[in-house]
């Protein structure tokens, strides 16, 4: 369209230059030759436009496929299935941990998880007052042996555990843990809820998400188990939680999901033992803060009331020396 218009303009200018005497003739010739002369450029223009359009679209498509798409370092299988979000009661703003669940969860950890997973950062004393009485925690600590300080001969002896000791690890060190578990290191669980994407949901899904048998087509290496929630889907840990595995002292039915839920809440506590106090302090801060905020809004309005309610009156000076059109007052008269 634009090309044709410009062609016409060029012709019109050429006609103007040839002079007034030949104007009529040239116009007639122009009119007669228009149909035959323009047929070839129209076809060429269409072809050029189509080719350039295809080139533009094609180069954009090529560029997008080459550089525009989101780059994934891992396949979906390697990412693992995203964990289902569950309505955890203890994750609500104003809710503490359910400490009975913490007690049950610690029982599950002690009887099931602790055979492979350590809980290095939790000392026995932190259990007192959160899920155990002093006597219970002391009794548990004394079941384990710890190294003493070197005595007078420089020998290190063994002593029963105290409340200030940390929960012992199942293996001496990471290498021993790897050697005992076919090369796979069972991670420390102290901060596991904070350490994994999805937190509580991920661990719960992982514990309860083992299928009866891997789906058709899934490649499971020997020594590994299939779990869709584990990144890579091949996990060294087999399914451990089965219905009735532990006996809860409070009579709660020990189903797989109940045990998983309890142990996840316990691991959430071990990762964030300060959560109860933090939430309690948090909403007190919000309460006092909102009062102070309302007060500051009131003070601002009080202080600004003088400025906001004042009335400005402007009396323009009398402009007597200027001519009428410059002075609006005189012009109006």
């Amino acid at each position: 369209m634009f090309a044709r218009t410009s062609l016409r303009t060029a012709r019109a200018f050429a006609n103007a230059k040839t002079g007034a005497t030949r104007t009529v003739v040239s116009q007639q010739r122009n009119a007669s030759s228009q149909s035959s002369a323009e047929s070839a450029p129209t076809w060429k223009n269409t072809a050029t436009l189509s080719a350039s359009t295809i080139l533009a679209i094609g180069s954009c498509t090529w560029y997008y496929t080459q550089f525009g798409r989101t780059a994934h370092a891992m396949t979906m299988q390697e990412e693992g299935l995203h964990a289902t979000p569950y309505p955890w009661e203890h994750e609500k703003f104003l809710k503490t941990y359910d400490h009975a669940a913490l007690r049950r969860g610690f029982q599950v950890y002690r009887e099931v998880c602790a055979s492979c997973h350590s809980l290095k950062r939790i000392p026995w004393r932190t259990l007192v007052g959160t899920m155990m009485t002093v006597d219970e925690a002391k009794a548990l600590a004394e079941e384990n042996e710890y190294d003493t300080e070197p005595n007078n001969e420089g020998e290190i002896e063994k002593r029963p555990g105290k409340l200030s000791d940390y929960i012992p690890s199942p293996y001496k060190n990471d290498e021993a843990a790897r050697a005992a578990n076919n090369g796979a290191l069972p991670p420390d669980l102290s901060l596991m809820v904070k350490a994994r994407h999805g937190g509580c949901n991920y661990i719960f899904s992982l514990l309860t998400g083992y299928p009866e048998e891997p789906p058709a087509g899934a490649v499971v290496q020997s020594g590994l188990n299939f779990n869709p929630y584990f990144p890579g889907t091949g996990i060294a840990m087999a399914r451990v939680l089965y219905d009735g595995l532990v006996d809860y002292e409070d009579g709660t039915p020990a189903t797989t999901s109940q045990m998983a839920k309890d142990v996840v809440e316990f691991l959430n506590w071990s990762a964030e033992p300060e959560m109860d106090d933090r939430k309690k302090m948090g909403w007190k801060v919000m309460a006092i803060g909102s009062v102070l905020f309302a007060l500051s809004v009131w003070i601002k309005r009080y202080k600004w009331s003088v400025v906001k309610t004042r009335k400005l009156q402007y009396n323009p000076p009398a402009l007597t020396g200027l001519p009428n059109k410059m002075n609006p007052r005189q012009a109006r008269r």
Binding site: L94, K95, T96, Y97, D98, H99, A100, R103, G129, T130, M131, M132, T133, D135, E136, D250, D276, K280, W283, K284, A287, I288
Partner: protein, 66 residues
């Protein structure tokens, strides 16, 4: 109103020592009241979830053993 205000002024604000003591006592009283009230609300929201709500089960059992 004016009588109340002048009464407050004469009893609490006129003497600097009394005024300062009033501020300190008021701060303590406010904090105690606020903490007691907010803790009561917190404990009502989380009734049955905290250790102090369930510890009687285990404390009693421990005392029986001794």
């Amino acid at each position: 109103m004016a009588g109340v205000l002048s009464g407050v002024y004469n009893t609490l604000i006129r003497s600097n020592g009394v005024f300062l003591s009033t501020i300190f006592a008021g701060a303590f009283a406010t904090e105690i009241l606020f903490d007691t009230g907010s803790n009561a609300i917190w404990n009502r929201i989380n009734k049955g979830r905290q250790w102090k709500d369930i510890k009687h089960r285990y404390m009693d059992a421990g005392e029986d053993d001794e």
